[in-house]
């Protein structure tokens, strides 16, 4: 999976300098001179993070986050600003910044922030992928198997489940074995974890 840092700053000189800095750290950088250009050129699946100048004309951090979400992207955003005052910082964090740095920013600090953001993106991305997988497995279950799974996860014994469903214990066992197989769970504990992550209600 490719990792890209999206760099957005309306000041060409700053953009160039930052791009060089990130490139020197071996990062894959794509630079944009305006938030609009960035949103238009964004690939929703792209991984990495966004480094964004917070003092650009017409920029609203919250709207940017929404625009990102609308494009199916959950890229973490690092805000850069010329002003390091508290009201601006608070506003940036409320707008969903993962980090907030004051210009001129030290290269190591910025790179550390970017690495953290990328790591976070990566883990979020991994979790999202696992959940999707579990959901896919859950989707293969029949209605009866889902009911059995829910009751198993709720901690009922086979006999109790049979009583609940108005069937015999043997039938429950068959369903249960099929659920374990479909969910690729090796143990009851794992099945419970998968069901939890899969958002089974």
């Amino acid at each position: 999976m490719s990792t890209t840092v999206f760099l957005v700053d309306d000041d060409a000189a700053v953009l160039k300098g930052l791009r060089r800095l990130l490139a020197s750290a071996g990062l894959n950088v794509i630079a944009f001179e305006s938030p609009q250009d960035f949103l238009e050129g964004l690939d929703g699946d792209a991984g990495g993070c966004v480094v964004l100048d917070y003092s650009m004309p017409g920029l609203n951090g919250l709207e940017l986050q929404q625009a990102l979400a609308a494009r199916g992207s959950a890229l973490p955003v690092i805000f850069l600003t010329g002003k390091g005052d508290i009201p601006t910082s608070v506003r940036a964090m409320k707008d969903g910044a993962v980090d907030f740095l004051t210009k001129p920013v030290d290269g190591e600090v910025l790179l550390a922030a970017i690495r953290a953001a990328i790591k976070r993106d990566r883990s979020q991305r991994g979790e999202r992928a696992e959940r999707t997988d579990i959901e896919r497995r859950l989707a293969t279950l029949t209605a009866r198997e889902r009911e059995v799974l829910r009751l198993v996860v709720a901690g009922l014994l086979n006999k109790q489940i049979a009583a609940e469903l108005g069937t015999v214990e043997k039938t429950v066992k068959v369903h249960r074995a099929r659920v374990m197989e479909k969910m690729r769970a090796g143990s009851l504990a794992e099945l419970v974890r998968l069901a939890g992550k899969g958002g089974l209600d």
């Binding site: 000189a13 700053v14 300098g17 060089r20 650009m56």
Partner: protein, 611 residues
Amino acid sequence: MSWITVLWPMMAAACITLALMQLLVWVRMPSRRAPLLFAIAALSVAAIAGMELAMMRAETAGEFGALQRWLHVPGFVLFVSLVFFVRVYFGAGRLWLAWTVCGLRLIVVAVNFLSDVSVNYKEITALHQVPVWGDAVSVAETVVNPWSRLATLSLLALVVFVVDAAIAVWNRGGEMRRRGALVGSSIALAVTLIAARNFLIHEGFILAPYLISASYMIVIVAMAYELGSDIHRSAQLARELQESDTQLRESEQRFRLVVEEAPNAMVMVDRHGTIALVNAMTEKVFGYRRDELIGRPVDMLLPERIRGTHAGHRGRYVADPSARAMGANRDVYGRHKDGHGILLEVSLNPIRTDKGSYVLASAIDISDRRKMEKAATELREELVHLSRVAMLGELSGSLAHELNQPLAAILSNAQAAQRFLGQDAVNLAEVREILGDIVEDDKRAGEVIRRLRTLLKKDEVQFDVLDVNDLAQEVLKLMRSDLLNRSVAVSTTLAPALPPVSGDRVQLQQVLLNLLINACDAMDHGGRGGKQIVVRSAPAGSVVEVSVADRGRGIPAGDLERIFEPFVTTKSQGLGLGLAVCRTIVAGHGGRIWASNNAGGGATIHFTLPS
């Protein structure tokens, strides 16, 4: 004793007395010939009177005839003196007529002595005693000489001359009119009486003595009256002269006092540049004593460096003297005795006197006034500067951002270069490029600081030729990030090829900055149809007009003028000095600043600058 014996000697005596009196006047004033001519006429009449008396007392025809013949001698003298009295006293009478009268009378006298008896009589046939006023006088019975008509003609010529002269005097008008009439009519009357009586006697209508002297007495009395009133007039004139002399002396004294005590240094200079008069203030201003100045060249009061050219200026001024200030709007310096320069305001006035043309220079030492003006100017500039600094304070966030950008770029570039250099395969081309960019960014930061410092420092006002459009662009660049932060959009309508204006760059930037900040402030609570400012420039006749329009709430109509007054503000924060300072600056550039409300909402501040 008879009346005739009394009256005729009295007439003669009176004539002699009057003649003597006027002779005395003439001796005192030989240049005045009227009294002399009068005296001669009066003595002639006295002689005539005496001879007439002798004729009236004559006992033989021979005696009577001889007297009658000699009577023409004083008669001739009388004629001549009368004619020239009229000419001298009244300055009137035709000369050819005068000579005609005299010539005729001379012929009469000549004929008189060539005739048997006289010009009047061919012969005296008898001598009668005729009663007159209870007395008996001798009257001749005669044969009339035909030449006697010549005598009558000479009388007529005299009347014509006198009447003509009297008319001329009358027409001239004035005070002499009455005198001319009196003397003229008295002579005409006397001559007419004589001519008429002669006619009656010669034609034999009456038997009576001539009584010529009695008629001429009228003339003598009239003339004496006029001459006497001349004496009276002279006395009056003398008195008036004395009074006016006193007044003149008083006014001269007042003039001297005024000049002496004048608060200005007054220096009177003749056409050659020599000082003729100075006053007390001159001594005080220039440090010289009066006696060191009078009679010396005025150049000593001027600084050495202009002494050479001053003579030329003075020459031109003498050629075309008119009251005016010296130096025509330039500072004029004088020189104190100790050598230091004195700043003066000098006005020149030409003075004409009997003794020639002078120039009166009136000078005021304006060093103190200039010092005060300078202090006021400094104070005003201080205020302008302080308000600029305060305004930049408002813009500090924006300015920090402007400075931060290049610094951020430099830091990133430098750290990138460090990292590149730490790598195994160093990309020198990349590093070289980075260093080039660092240099550019550093220059950019320096430029921001330079702009800031220009605005912050307090410089002498310096007038340059400026393009208003450039100014507007520079200011907008300075405010760029502030405008972005406040979400204000600026559009410009700048006329191409504007005539340049003369002005102080920093101060005019200050005006534009101030107007832009005000426009932003006016739209803090949202503008109509978005926060937008329009900056316009356009030539308008001999000036360039610049305007800044916002879409704020506008200005109450009553405040359009007031907002330019100090300490008048509509903002919650602010001293209310911004627009007052703008007005001071614009006025200092010879321009005008005013406010108006836009038809579509919002306000516009306009100002003009002479191009």
